[in-house]
């Protein structure tokens, strides 16, 4: 792995602002980005990534490779929770194991975006349909996560609203705000590109030019929030911290193998690895809070946000890039 690659990632504005957020917490500064400002950036990033993905998806079309890649991504997000669960069950109860497993099956949009920005800096192209894969990887993980709880014998407390749980789970899996905004913006991007192309240029300053700076600003907040999780981590213990580093590495490896089988070009392969390796701290925690309230949010959020997210952002992306270059031929 070339040092320049690592340095370029480490010293890019998004990663540095993430580090600044971490430092602010470590030195005990009162720097905070008060609610709901982080939500503004989070909504903006989903909208912009979806819109741009939709525009590019229209240009690339829905050919067989696109469809097989998306299908593979969805499969990945259903499989990862299964084997993660088996690992986690060695030390945790069913509820926590299932919730963490679901988290790792799903994806982190900000990790994806950071990887995209990194590709932009290194000049490696990638396809817009990867955003569609991103959008469709949250729902399967959520469903598998709850299946794991339901099928584990004798552990479920009775929910006061018996019966309606499945409906509200599917609802949460497919219609939670981040999936809806991402898929909606994707469709809008495609429609505008197809039928109202003069609108593209007018959206560009907002969804395009502003994007990188807004990502950096948001990562400042993510750094603060991730660092605040360090206390929880200590309670979580070495097992979970180890899981939060090793499982992404393993998933990235599987992702690389799948990319190679699918014949993805380098840029798309990197994104596929990042999708596989990343863990959700947006849609999944909210869904788990609702459907598995017995699981402790401090565990599944801390591992995903406090360990895996910074690991991927700082070490993972350039590492996966080096792996891609070893395995996938440049085009």
């Amino acid at each position: 792995m070339e040092t320049s690659l690592v340095l370029q990632n480490l010293l890019s504005p998004p990663v540095l602002f993430f580090a600044l957020g971490v430092i602010a917490v470590l030195v005990g500064s009162d720097l905070e980005i008060p609610a709901p400002l982080p939500k503004l950036f989070s909504l903006y990033l989903l909208l912009a990534i979806g819109f741009k993905g939709g525009v590019e998806l229209l240009h690339s079309g829905l050919g067989p490779q696109v469809i097989s890649t998306i299908a593979a991504a969805m499969l990945m997000s259903a499989l990862v929770p299964l084997y993660s669960f088996l690992v986690l069950k060695r030390q945790l109860d069913t509820f926590n194991a299932a919730a963490i497993a679901a988290t790792y099956g799903s994806i982190s949009a900000v990790t994806f975006i950071t990887a995209e920005s990194f590709l932009g800096i290194t000049g490696m192209p990638h396809d817009g349909f990867m955003v569609a894969a991103l959008a469709l990887m949250e729902s399967p993980a959520i469903i598998v996560g709850l299946l794991l709880v339901k099928l584990a014998p004798g552990e479920t407390k009775e929910d006061p609203r018996e019966g309606i749980r499945w409906g509200s789970l599917l609802h949460e899996a497919f219609l939670n705000s981040s999936v809806l905004l991402l898929v909606g913006s994707l469709v809008i991007g495609g429609l505008v590109a197809a039928f109202s192309p003069s609108g593209l240029g007018k959206m560009e300053p907002f969804t395009g030019e502003l994007f990188y700076g807004a990502l950096s600003f948001f990562l400042l907040d993510m750094g603060i929030v991730a660092a605040q999780r360090v206390g929880d981590l200590r309670r979580a213990g070495a097992f979970l911290i180890g899981f939060a580093v090793l499982m992404p590495l393993f998933n990235a490896g599987i992702g690389l193998a799948v990319s190679w089988l699918l014949g993805l070009p380098q840029g798309d392969a990197l994104l596929f690895m990042v999708l596989s390796a990343s863990a959700s701290y947006i849609a999944v925690p909210a869904a788990m809070r609702m459907t598995v309230p017995q699981a402790s949010p401090s565990l599944y959020i801390s591992t995903a946000l406090g360990v895996t997210f910074p690991f991927n952002i700082v070490v993972g992306i350039p590492l996966y890039m080096a792996m891609v270059r070893l395995v996938i031929p440049a085009t």
Binding site: A35, K39, P160, R161, I224, V225, A286, R289, M290, P293
Partner: protein, 93 residues
């Protein structure tokens, strides 16, 4: 009259409001963005961007009958999802 103070996750708000309406209480008020700590750990606003949400504080001024009916509906929710409910006396101004 009674004053009910209810603090729970905002993810349960919709269901709580349905119960209040069903109990025939004359009204209610909701304060969002409440943080805190209880037996299930602490709740902050720092994950608000993720859709996880923080707590809500719901205040209901009502008569005994509504309170009784609310009690039946709310207890299982508080037990299952966490949160606290307290009752005190209050007279209309």
């Amino acid at each position: 009259m009674h004053r009910l103070d209810l603090i729970c996750s905002e993810r349960e708000l919709e269901r709580v409001v349905h119960l209040i309406d069903a109990a025939g209480a004359p009204g209610y008020s909701v304060v969002r963005h409440v943080t805190g700590r209880g037996p299930h750990g602490s709740v902050s606003e720092s994950m608000e961007f993720s859709g996880l949400g923080a707590n809500v504080h719901v205040i209901v001024f009502c008569q005994s009958e509504a309170l009784e009916s609310l009690r039946q509906g709310l207890r299982p929710i508080l037990e299952y999802y966490g949160g606290v409910g307290f009752v005190s006396q209050a007279e209309p101004l």
